[in-house]
Subunit: 342 residues, 2 copies
DNA sequence: TTGAAAGCGCTAACAT
DNA sequence: ATGTTAGCGCTTTCAA
């Protein structure tokens, strides 16, 4: 026998469709006794609601906007692609996604873009943005206006909004540190760290986790001051080369930010004899190639596709007033070696 | 303006719903000229079909069965739970899943169970089974009878069936080997390997990949013959303890199979001074705890939930005669350290 | 070759 | 408090 429907329930409970629907959706206007009868029928028949049909009838569509920086790093590119893909093919059921990008370094424009949403607020806003007072205020305004907010990739701890979707960057830094420390022989050496800006929360957190592990487990390694390269490949190349030339005893490099093309270049032109242990973030064309060729030893990554899909699911759940299962929405900090590249 | 529907197309093309539907589903009985008109309308309006509504109208339901061993290892338990969960809550749209388990060591019963499906074949069969001639024949028979087959976790290379859903175990073994080799100091030492049976394809493949890496990159390590413990914790505990007592120069253990509780016990009772590097497979309660406590150094894993969801998606696609996107269905070989536990 | 109309399982006005 | 009824976007007889 095929799956029971609302009709079957109505029949066995001896009520009408409308009443069944009221019970199913916990709407008022049904006698306790009737509710009981309906629930018994539901139980007895083993009814499970056909969500697709329900959504179809409900005609509910979710109108989301996704705000992200336009910076030209590979990772951000993939993240934008992931959004674009979902937006294009309406991959997610009955959700419309409107992606808007802001100039990466212009938090003023960002705040304005977010604030602008307040007059015609979408159902939800997935947001990847640094937290500045201005941004915080703008986000709060949109929230007041009725939109659900989900911070993506970078958390917005001072705004009391939805479940953050992204990795724990302190843990990511710790992971990098552990791998790097264990890969190196147990003797004194220097370790170089390059990042975007230390004012960027995520990079700072990674560095923090990295340092924790170094201090706890690998005291024989001395970590040089972070090279801030603003995620720009040319800068990374220049500064790494210079650093490498200056210090002979650098055994490893931890690249906590973007611009890894520059790192690869610097490594290629450096003394071939000096085989360094290198760990970077995000699985991109560049880091994948570096891993394959043996230039990088490990890559710590978060999956862009998972991030945006999860963010959208969380938004949907929030709009529907449903609970999310946190364990299912937790973004994993993945480790890739040459051997386990997907 | 909201998403265009079949009605909109019918209107702009000046035809009826039925005709639009015929064109949409490439059914015969429409003049070339009319097809063109309809396609133009589709193009012009940017129509994308509402799959949920289509499936609802079609009344298509997918009837799948999932055959898996009943062995009491944690990983298999989670795999079965994942199937049970999907089966219970009809999580996947319009698919009914019937899980059947067979006695893990009885390939005769297994072959019979599979063969039995031939008389009333389901739409699809997701199968985790060792490949024996008998099994192969039974699978072929079900296939003849019209069922789509997807091998899960363990491949069925001699059967020409659907896309295998699981990890590349050679690569997994290589990953373990690389990690283990790099974690160890660069000096001669012995490495112990424990597995279920070498007749089990997956364990043999892991061992193969592991040995490749040892030979290629870590010649200073000598790998002892595999301890076959049939995935049983007591056996693992006994044999590992014995081996540890016999050889003083064992620096690391690679556990390619199940029964890791036994390994943990053996390690706990062994000489506390001997801090070994340990790498095991599958993220379970046991290995997670071992990782947290520092008993294990890394765990190589495949996600049970992903595996069954992917298998079901692949089956559905196959039944529908659709292409699967291989990159999206590839199961990842994950690496977990204490630091990046989810 | 084309169209009209009756659903699929569910929801939501609008009646009663 | 409960029932009737008309859809949601699409498919599918059955007629024309």
């Amino acid at each position: 026998m095929s799956r029971p429907t609302v009709h079957d329930i109505a029949q066995t409970a001896g009520v009408s469709l409308a009443t069944v629907d009221r019970v199913l959706n916990k709407r008022p206007g049904v006698r306790a006794k009737t509710i009981l009868r309906v629930n018994e029928a539901i139980e007895k028949l083993g009814y499970v609601r056909d969500v697709a049909a329900a959504n179809l009838a409900r005609q509910r569509t979710y109108d989301f906007v996704c705000v992200m920086p336009d910076a030209p790093t590979e990772f951000l590119g993939e993240l934008r692609d992931a959004v674009a893909e979902i937006a294009a093919q309406g991959a997610m059921d009955r959700v419309r996604v409107d992606m808007r990008t802001y100039p990466a370094d212009d938090t003023h424009a960002l705040a304005e873009m977010i604030g602008g949403l307040a007059k015609a607020p979408p159902d939800g806003l997935a947001l990847m943005a640094p937290e500045t007072p201005r941004v915080r205020d703008a986000v709060r305004r949109v929230m007041q206006a009725g939109a659900s907010i989900v911070p993506m990739v970078a958390d917005l701890p001072t705004v009391d909004c939805g479940h953050f979707v992204g990795i724990d960057n302190v843990a990511a830094g710790r992971t990098a540190g552990t791998l790097l420390g264990r890969f190196l022989p147990e003797r004194p050496a220097r370790v170089m760290v390059v990042a975007g800006t230390m004012t960027a929360r995520d990079h700072a957190e990674r560095r923090l986790g990295f340092d924790q592990v170094m201090a706890e487990r690998f005291a024989h390694l001395s970590v040089l001051p972070t090279l801030e390269c603003y995620d720009r490949a040319e800068l990374v190349a220049a500064r790494v080369s210079e650093m490498l030339a200056r210090h002979q005893d650098i055994a490893a490099i931890y690249s906590a930010g973007a611009g890894n093309q520059g790192l690869v270049r610097a490594l290629a032109s450096a003394d071939a004899g000096a085989r360094l242990t290198v760990i970077a973030h995000e699985l991109t064309e560049c880091t994948r190639a570096a891993l394959t060729e043996g230039t990088f030893d490990a890559v710590i990554a978060q999956n862009p596709g998972h991030i945006v899909r999860s963010a959208l699911r969380v938004l949907r759940a929030e709009v529907d007033g449903m609970e999310t299962i946190p364990s299912q929405e937790r973004i994993r900090t993945e480790i890739f070696l040459k051997e386990n590249l997907p």
